[in-house]
Amino acid sequence: MEGAKTNRSGAMGGASMNVPLFVTAAHELKSPLALMRQLSLAIESGDCSPAEIARISHQITLTSERALRLTTDLTRTSRLEDSLFTLEPINPMSLCEEVIEEVRPLYWAKGRSIRLEKRARPLLALANKDLLRRILLNFADNALHYSAEDSPVIISAKAFGSGEHVRVGVRDYGPSLPTDLSSAHSLHSRPESSGLGVFIVNQFAQAMQSSVGTIRHRDGATFYVDLSASTQMRLL
């Protein structure tokens, strides 16, 4: 994401993109649209068995759902300034489970797996449920694309900062992020990525007064969102 502000803590900053948003969005949508077209043409060719047609149809459905998530996110992004978002106490583990259920068919169809890292102690974070869900869906989608075939993507949530904050992260095991901060792409978007997903999650995070960031690993990356912990938790 060119033009993004970065800091040493790894927080993803800035929300402007040097390339116009519609150009980046068009670029991102090309891939699923081109794939759906090829899959449709394959079915139209008449060379596919009934089993292949069923499988390809399922691939078209999953690909279109992924593209629709992107268009919905973009629409939502354009309306953020005009909207007020209610922050409420949310159990991040339950939301992570919902996100995993939503993306599992796509993961399964691509031969990948995703799981939740269980924790013993309950957590309660202040967030807007819809925006947090969209951030995590973006992270999960990103991880699917970049994770290795034999390594599950892991979603986890933990408290930090003396229990004042909650971090929800999506860890993938795939190509490492670039180390050169001065390169055309920032630390936080993959070298071949347009950075649109990063832009979207930044917008959503800012709308609910939270922040997103990345941790670079030798064998992949963790994309995370930091939220304020709900004070209700301390009353329990």
């Binding site: 670029h27 090309k30 891939s31 649209l33 081109a34 794939l35 077209r37 090829q38 899959l39 043409l41 394959a42 060719s45 060379d47 691939q59 690909t63 691509k110 031969g111 694309h145 970049y146 075939e149 795939g174 190509p175 993959r190 070298p191 071949e192």
Partner: protein, 121 residues
């Protein structure tokens, strides 16, 4: 004996279609989901042609083209580039890497992949 083709593309469903079409047209087709695995596959099976996506996680298609060009035996393998952004890949920039053709994924017909490989051989 059928010609061997290695398809290198991170979009596994797109690659599946390429492999299916190539096999149906008499080629022996194999798939790798990234440049590193692709190079291993090329080393192993010594293909007659490579179908290469340009934008992939990790080393991209351009990196692989550089690598192929640096080995005398591999530099002779013809490459067909297949991309969603054909206009961003000027043929004159990649012709010296053995790229015979650039296919636009957004406009191609399924049979174009076999035709391009045949022309490249």
């Amino acid at each position: 004996m059928s010609h061997k083709v290695v398809v290198i593309d991170d979009d596994i469903w797109m690659a599946e279609q390429y492999v299916r079409t190539l096999k149906s047209d008499g080629f022996s087709a194999h798939h790798a989901p990234n440049a590193i695995d692709g190079l291993d596959l090329i080393d192993t099976i010594q293909p007659d042609a490579v179908v290469l996506d340009m934008f992939m996680p990790g080393p991209n298609g351009m990196v692989l083209l550089h690598e192929l060009a640096s080995h005398e035996d591999l530099s002779r393998i013809p490459v067909v580039v297949s991309t969603n952004n054909a206009s961003d890949v000027p043929p004159e920039h990649i012709a010296r890497y053995g790229v015979r053709e650039v296919i636009d994924k957004t406009t191609m017909q399924p049979s174009d992949i076999s035709r391009a490989v045949r022309r490249a051989l």
